[in-house]
Assembly symmetry: D2
Homo-oligomer: 332 residues x 4
């Protein structure tokens, strides 16, 4: 019973079906019918012009986004818990050619205008210090919390005042949108580029990199090729995205994952370290307690001393979720 | 009727079947059962120890291979027709952090020990000139010819004498092996790293990067992650490779592609610019002749003034191939 | 009256004299007599084999040292106050091609085995996290304190256990050596590369990058050329270093700078934030107090809220130092 | 008797004098009086607004110029004989983060609009091929010839039509100007950035990087710092440039070097491979002839089979020049 991560989850059958329904023979790279339809599809979804590139991983999407926003000698402000800071083996530094991540604080993995200002105001504006050029926020965050539309807008507004560009790492943006009950457009006001995640949410191997400033996409297209991410048979990548958007599958899947997390949260209320607003839970738990859960067949990560992480996904079996909820509630 | 490229070809049904048969739930990245089986599978295929990483594109495989072989201040010797030189938007320079491609000549896109020596001997050995550190050859070449096992061994031997590492870009290595009737081991003697192509040969989105010096693979693993190529659900990538190797599907597919090319070659003997040893043909053809073929529904690239390129693939419909052969033969 | 920094200081006349005494005509780059003598000279000074490259700036020396020690996907452990982290506009990230600085704590800008272990032990050893490969310490530190030979040896020993290489940023290593009364060899036990600073200590435009593992120097020589630091007339750079070493001028100059700092420290004892062990002082001071000193003609930096920094140098005029000491003592 | 290179030449006494006359104590880096005066001085010299950065080497100047003009995924058109292609150990690739040098032909190391068009027109405009973004020409060229103002303007005009930026490597621009009898402004029409060389012409360790589009200079300033080229005591670098410009010393020195070359050319007319328009000569010469000159004490490089290179400089002793001229004329 896997509660390790949402990338252990299966691929939704509709995704495979769409791939097999794609034109078997079509123009290579991203010249095919399905790839060419992405701009219009996301423009409609967000209600504003968007230029969209499929990407094989969230790491590639994030890193190429940052390269489009920040020069090699610039800095990207992000939270100390950010995936780009901790979990990408330096991909942002690689794609930006050495830009520096500038680390801001904030409760529950959320930066605030105050924490960002505190960081930025301490950086002397001269040629010796790396100057901020972009801000990257993760929504939902790495700790299972969300930024509201107002939170995002406040950070984006600060960024605009300072001349910084804004990136949103949306590996779990579907979970955030479902939790907030807002539209994709409302959650991305002021954002220049969004890494729109599908893989953790039932997809196979394709994320969407959404540029709300289409001029940035030409640069990114070349960086994608140069990074080795321009798939030869791109039509099968585009098909995955279309399948996830059809009939709002992405929202249904996220709703299922969040629902499973909520059931676990209800059983673990007293142990929660952070609010549960998406599909991740962080629980206080002694090693002995964790061992007793594992003995029952539940798998999960130790996050830090005395804290475990549980992750649900679109296909978490209800029986396993309920069993885990009961087991947690039953801990002495 | 597409004779543009082998990446317009469909995915073999066995590849999709294998993906759907993969464990729906398994450890993420490359910790799954199928990914972990790759080293042993390729070691058996090549009869020597190999460490293998799946890669989403040939460009990524080539560039990460070169980064493992050549320092940023070094040079990689390759032919002027090499894919790494002409068709990867600088991916080798990106992944190696600025290594320089050093261009050797040779008929029919094949370097020889003589052309390589001529290049290398002209480079003064000092700190001002970029010094060669690796040699990269493409087999089958970009012009549809092949290096024999002896050709490869001669270049590899020269490289070893000079202290250079050897990379083989095998985007179409299956076509070369089928043409030569040799084993994979025979064709890669002295090679340190092979980009083993599957996508042009019936695959979907996965190539294999095969390190015959397994110590190099640890470095490459980190570069793969850092390049954004460590897929979250790697089991579906590994499944593609296993499907291609099962029952020698890769050889059967290459045989089909080469066979189609041979039928075209027989009809176009007098027009051939290069020997046809794989699945690509380069034909002398006037614009008027090319237009008349296009008017019949055949699609292909103009390669250079008065030269067209035809590419066949594993699923080139026999009727289309025959029709094209007749049309060429019937040109006045 | 400048107490801003030691780079406002004049060039020692012996340095100019040595440059003018150098062979006017000699082989270019570093093929000249004076450059070729550096290895032997530093090997004698440190009592072990050393390979030495002149460098125009400390930033270049540090960055090229780190590039020789750490791969692009690795990390360099340093203190949060480190010059490489704060004052080089990302030069380490540039020269290492994106390695990450991993920030350790410690009082008075000094890391300890404990703070380093705490940092390193929290880094999961997998391919997602940047792994430490090197440790860089500054001696004297950016806060005017020093690491003793035992401090250095303890950090180097930890590094060796973990498989990390060790760099010392010695922009003010002369000040540290003078303060400690130790030999250069004693202070660099276990260090792989030392950036040996001369410019802040009376030099003009040349630091020495000292490799105690000479094999690393060949790589660094190419990175120096590639970084644009291989001066055309290198003999004049080498001459500067020889002049600083002749008759222990570097020690005399550092003694003078430290002495001036000590006189100020004696007058400001109650205001000191950090021990004064080199030529920098950090003093608690209200804005009004700072303004009153400035009104008397003293120049210095505001370091942070309520803290000023004073820096002395080899040629700080005694009268100015005494005047400042009295002015500080006289503050109400 | 050195005819190896102009970097074996001595430093002009006025340069040393100016350094010693510079303010011994001043603001660090480039905040000093002399550095701040450079923009105005070069703006006057060129009759248009210029932003100027001192640089320790021509390699650094060239590479930072190209980084300001070309993105990492772009290409820089240059001649096959270009210093940036052959003699900088990949510095352009390093500073541009992997841009590709695209090699154009042309007699006597001079590109022409025709050779450049032939190169550029063969590059398919898609995402797979590196696209030209800049053009770099060397004046005087590496073969001792010059581009006239009309030659430069024609190349710059082509570049402007294609949307490329223009860089001039002026390591020996003084020699070109003296030969042509034109003004600096006339020779740089349409040029965006000039590497203005002084070191080969009597300087010590400082070139000027002249931006005629001052907006580019802010980016370059950060790249200079990040490259480790922001000297701590920049006033001594600026002083060198001022000394070279004072009383047109740079023109007088170039006139002397060109004059010496002309005397040698007159004696070697029948052996010349290229026109002698600056201070370099390329002579047909058998190994036996070369040996006989060396036996007389003359030092020079073998350039290629049967060709030697001679370089004169501002201080080439007249007696040595005359002796060499006679020795060449006396060859059987």
């Amino acid at each position: 019973m896997h509660f390790f991560s949402d990338n252990v989850a299966p691929v939704h059958p509709a995704v495979f079906a769409a791939m097999q329904a794609a034109d078997a023979v079509d123009v290579g790279y991203d010249g095919d019918r399905l790839s060419r339809a992405l701009d219009a599809r996301f423009s409609a979804l967000f209600g504003r012009e968007a230029a969209v590139l499929w990407m094989p991983t969230g790491t590639a999407a994030n890193a190429i986004a940052l390269a489009a926003l920040c020069p090699p000698y610039g800095g990207v402000i992000c939270h100390s818990e950010a995936h780009i800071q901790n979990d990408e083996c330096g991909a942002p530094e690689f794609y930006t050619h050495g830009a520096k991540l500038l680390i801001a604080g904030g409760e529950d993995a959320r930066m605030t205008p105050e924490t960002v200002r505190a960081l930025a105001d301490a950086i002397v504006d001269d040629v010796h210090r790396v100057q901020p050029r972009a801000l990257s926020l993760t929504n939902a965050t790495e700790l299972g919390t969300v930024y509201s539309p107002d939170d995002v807008a406040a950070l984006a507004s600060l960024a605009r005042q300072r001349g910084w560009r804004v990136h949103m790492d949306g590996a779990r943006v579907a979970n955030a949108i479902v939790h907030l009950g807002c539209t994709p457009a409302e959650l991305t006001e002021g954002v220049d580029v969004l890494s729109f995640g599908f893989v953790k949410n039932g997809g196979l191997s394709t994320e969407a990199l959404v540029f709300f400033d289409p001029k940035l996409a030409d640069d990114a297209r070349r960086r994608r090729k140069r990074g080795g991410h321009l798939l030869s048979k791109g039509r099968y990548a585009a098909a995955q995205i279309h399948a996830m958007l059809d009939d709002d599958l992405w929202l249904a899947n996220a709703r299922a994952a969040n629902g499973a997390a909520a059931r676990l949260a209800a059983a673990a209320r007293a142990r929660l370290i952070h609010p549960v607003e998406a599909n991740e839970l962080f629980l206080r738990m002694t090693p002995a307690e964790a061992a007793s859960l594992r003995a029952l067949g539940f798998g999960f990560y130790d996050w830090s001393d005395g804290v475990i992480r549980l992750v649900t996904h679109w296909a978490s079996p209800a029986a396993e979720v309920d069993a885990l909820a009961q087991a947690i509630a039953a801990l002495p």
